[in-house]
């Protein structure tokens, strides 16, 4: 698609956006992969349509305000990237665009407050924990509150679990096979602290030393994807200081969104002095499932205990694993390697569950419809357990399955492996 974006936005972000628009041949192969197009059936809420809208705004043909509602509805799930045969880097376009557009937006007061509260609390586990505790008591008041405040409240857990801080260093159990640095993630420390504990146990059991660099913080993905570029840059720089890619085999994440966030640093920092450093870090980032699958291929994993009865396990592809990182086979291979487990694929597996970072808060209606659709698709394969590799999906699946009255257990892939090691499956 022709454009003269680069002429009007000559910085590095402008170049990235111009390149993405250029690559689109508007073939429409992205349409069925897009959750909002699937729900709404209109061109503006499709990837191809959003590309035209962004191009029109960047070229000055269309006021930002006209395009904004449709761009805001994009989940950033990147299902379109997987479906696109022309290789359009849509993620670079939408993130770059949001970063450029946000400072020009005039949002209503409540929306502004919610956004800044979320972006302030999410990266600070202590604050998030305190907020969650307060939120627990505020939940009964929810029906009295405006929609913009009800949505974030709905997301808070009804019971706040105790913190499980990780040691800065965990030695390998048995002969040492490797050394990794681990990104703790922010929200999941509060919502699902067991993910991290299970990760360290499984790694250590397989001869891996785990370092948890003390200076680390939020990966910045939430800020980057909502257009808060200055905050995202600040958070990325903090992690560039904290992690030393040279000293480890890999920098691991067990949250699809955070792993993808780290891998996006070269894009975020394009044109910044730290661009090279960002590339070095990003090249070492791996999802926990990929690292374990490689370990398994290179000499095997410690054997799992068989399950006590045959278990039907459905695997849900988190968008930021399947689409952003291209990781689909590895978690499946790991799950399949547990004796007694039957792996099930979920219909419409490529369609986002609707969680998508802060989407539940900003687009509660669409998020709810997608969550319901995903939960029904999960139930259609009659699993005992549904597994995913991302805290956002986990929360979404949990809440929609509960709403449908389903007893299906929701777990992280690493929890399933951990339980298999402990003979508790």
């Amino acid at each position: 698609m022709n454009n003269d974006i680069a002429a009007q936005h000559p910085d590095a972000q402008g170049q990235l956006m111009a390149h993405a628009v250029d690559a689109c041949v508007h073939c429409g192969f992205c349409l069925p992969a897009c959750p909002t197009y699937t729900l709404l059936g209109d061109e503006m809420d499709s990837p191809r349509g959003r590309i035209v809208l962004m191009k029109s705004v960047l070229e000055g043909e269309l006021p930002l305000l006209d395009a904004a509602p449709h761009l805001d509805r994009c989940l950033g799930c990147l299902g379109c990237v997987t479906a696109c045969p022309s290789g359009v880097p849509y993620g670079e376009l939408i993130s770059g665009f949001r970063g450029w557009a946000e400072p020009q937006r005039r949002r209503p007061v409540i929306q502004r407050l919610t956004r800044s509260a979320v972006l302030t609390m999410l990266p600070r586990p202590a604050l998030f924990r305190a907020g969650a505790t307060v939120g627990k008591y505020a939940k009964p008041l929810a029906p009295l509150l405006p929609q913009a405040l009800r949505a974030p409240l709905d997301l808070l857990p009804s019971a706040v679990q105790p913190a499980q801080p990780l040691p800065a260093f965990t030695p390998a159990h048995g002969p040492k096979r490797g050394r990794v640095a681990f990104l703790e993630g922010c929200a999941q420390q509060v919502l699902t602290p067991n993910f991290n504990a299970a990760t360290v146990r499984v790694l250590s059991r397989n001869g891996i030393e785990v370092v948890v660099p003390p200076g680390q913080g939020c990966c910045g993905a939430a800020a980057m994807h909502t257009g808060a570029r200055p905050l995202a840059l600040q958070q990325a720089r903090r992690n560039l200081d904290a992690f030393d890619p040279a000293g480890v085999d890999a920098i691991l994440s067990n949250a699809a969104g955070c792993g993808a966030g780290l891998k996006e640093y070269p894009m975020l920092l394009a044109g910044e002095p730290e661009e090279g450093q960002a590339r070095r870090l990003a090249s070492k980032v791996q999802d926990i499932s990929v690292y374990l699958a490689e370990l398994s291929a290179a000499g095997g994993l410690e054997p799992f205990m068989p399950t006590t009865r045959p278990l039907r396990v459905a695997y849900h592809d988190a968008c930021h694993l399947a689409h952003a990182q291209g990781v689909k086979a590895e978690p499946r291979a790991l799950i399949r390697s547990i004796p007694g487990v039957e792996l099930l694929d979920i219909p419409e597996g490529d369609l986002c569950c609707g969680s998508a970072g802060t989407y539940n808060i900003e687009q509660p209606d669409l998020a709810g419809r997608l969550g319901d659709r995903k939960a029904r698709n999960v139930l259609s394969v009659r699993p005992d357990i549904v597994v995913s590799g991302n805290v956002g999906c986990h929360t979404q699946l949990q809440s929609h399955l509960t709403r449908l009255g389903s007893p299906v257990r929701v777990m992280h892939t690493i929890e399933l492996l951990d339980l298999a090691y402990r003979g508790e499956l």
């Binding site: 698609m1 022709n2 250029d22 690559a23 689109c24 041949v25 508007h26 073939c27 429409g28 192969f29 349409l31 069925p32 059936g41 209109d42 061109e43 503006m44 349509g49 035209v52 809208l53 029109s56 043909e61 269309l62 006209d66 395009a67 449709h70 696109c84 045969p85 022309s86 290789g87």
Partner: protein, 468 residues
């Protein structure tokens, strides 16, 4: 059908259109802001005029209301499915009303009658997916079948790799419901005058299909796949002619030239032979395994006699990978140049070797980047000119496309196999169709759309004489 004169004369009431539509249909079905309208001016090949308003109907009644409002306002109407078409058919040539069928997605399968009743917005693949539990399939399979809609497929009479043995979309239509230019609803079967047949492939210039009753069939029990590659394009075409003359009736017989193979390999990285001048991918199928394998054998021998290297697919996954390669050609070409002019010629199989060689020579002589692929079993070729409008002259591109069209005409072929004439090839029709026949086509157009309101500027060239 009411045949009336042209739409109300005088200045069209453009401002009133969106207002009227909203009053008739409600807010959620009418798009009127610039941001909304901008997105309904293109298909997969071309950008056209920004529409004055867009309607997203949910029922036939909505379509009727929209057509009447457009008629009242004196503006043209363009029907639109997923807009994955490749001839500019869904890109409005003038300002007007776009009716986008993507929300008319009701689909009903009747397994006893072996029928699917589908609204135009149903995605093509979904018909087969819904039919599968009943042991049935819908064979037409355009490369875009995950995206394209039944309405669009019927508008263009879309084919696909299966068309050699199983035919094109139009061959599966038992009945149609359509809304005419006056907003009247009609229900057609294929008896008496085959008016349904006339509508199929008419690219929305004669009426708007609002429901189709489609024939379903049982899938073949066995399928076998092979891929063969050749040093030179003409050899591949020779193999095709020889295999079919020898009695093989492959269910799919597809061709890609070197540039296509490399574009797909860049995208998928599945080990396609980058050095080959041309590749054929072939399926034979049927309920009798012996016949299926015998037919594959015939194809294999024809390929080897034409100096091809043959690889049989080891299993279903292997075969699926080969077909994924072929399906990805069209959009994967976008990686080479941002824009393309897509040809869709059909020539007699006996002249295929001469035609593909001649087109390859034309491409090389032009200095432009041209590639060829297509449903070669049908004689259906898709020479594509890939270009960058910032570097290549549009006139040179158009000139080369015209030359290709002339090759087809010279060898006794036609301008469109499955993508339609649209706006891209309308200029070549003057040479492809004799004046008497063209006049007859115009008579049909005038009979069904006297106000010239339906998708103007498509399919039929303005006659040079003043009797238009």
């Amino acid at each position: 059908m009411t045949v009336s004169g042209p739409a109300r004369p005088g200045a069209p009431d453009r401002a009133g259109l969106a207002r009227d539509l909203t009053r008739l249909l409600g807010d959620g079905k009418v798009l009127s802001t610039l941001g909304e309208r901008l997105n309904y001016r293109y298909d997969a090949i071309q950008f056209g005029a920004t529409p004055l308003a867009v309607v997203l109907p949910e029922s036939t009644a909505d379509v009727v209301a929209a057509v009447r409002a457009a008629r009242q306002a004196g503006v043209p109407i363009v029907g639109r499915g997923a807009a994955s078409g490749l001839s500019g058919g869904a890109a409005p040539a003038q300002e007007g009303l776009v009716i986008s069928f993507t929300r008319m997605t009701r689909l009903h399968i009747d397994p006893l009658r072996r029928e699917a009743r589908a609204q135009p917005g149903v995605v093509t693949l979904q018909v087969s997916e819904a039919a599968r539990p009943h042991g049935l399939v819908y064979p037409p399979d355009p490369a875009s079948f995950r995206t394209s809609t039944i309405g669009g497929n019927l508008g263009e009479n879309a084919g696909g790799p299966m068309c050699f043995k199983y035919g094109v979309s139009g061959d599966y239509v038992k009945a149609l419901e359509f809304v005419d230019a006056d907003g009247e609803v009609h229900r057609l079967t294929r008896d008496a005058y085959d008016l349904a047949g006339l509508l199929i492939g008419s690219e929305g210039t004669l009426g708007l299909v609002t429901e189709a009753t489609l024939r379903l069939t049982t899938p073949a029990r066995y399928t076998r796949t092979l891929m063969s590659h050749f040093a030179e394009v003409g050899q591949a075409a020779e193999a095709v002619s020889a295999a079919i003359a020898g009695g093989a009736v492959p269910s799919k017989l597809e061709f890609m030239d070197r540039a296509c193979v490399n574009a797909v390999e860049d995208y998928l990285q599945i080990g396609l032979p980058r050095e080959a001048g041309a590749v054929l991918v072939v399926d034979t199928d049927g309920d009798d395994l012996e016949t299926v394998e015998h037919e594959l054998e015939l194809v294999e021998q024809a390929c080897m006699r034409a100096c091809g290297t043959v690889r049989r697919a080891a299993d279903e996954a292997d075969s699926a990978a080969l077909w994924r390669a072929r399906r990805s050609v069209s959009p994967a070409l976008g990686r080479i140049r941002p824009q393309r002019m897509n040809e869709d010629i059909v020539v007699p199989r006996s002249v295929l070797p001469d035609v593909v060689r001649e087109i390859e020579r034309l491409g090389q002589a032009s200095g432009l980047h041209m590639v060829q692929f297509g449903h070669i079993g049908d004689g259906n070729l898709h020479p594509n000119i890939l270009f960058d409008p910032r570097q290549d002259s549009p006139e040179a591109v158009h000139q080369l496309a015209h030359e290709v069209a002339r090759v087809a005409i010279r060898y006794g072929g036609v301008l469109s196999g499955e993508h339609g004439i649209g706006s891209m090839k309308v200029a070549f029709m003057q040479e492809a169709v004799d004046p008497t026949t063209l006049a007859a086509l115009w008579d049909v157009k005038r009979a069904l759309d006297p106000g010239m309101a339906l998708n103007p500027g498509k399919v039929l060239p303005q006659p040079e004489a003043s009797d238009a």
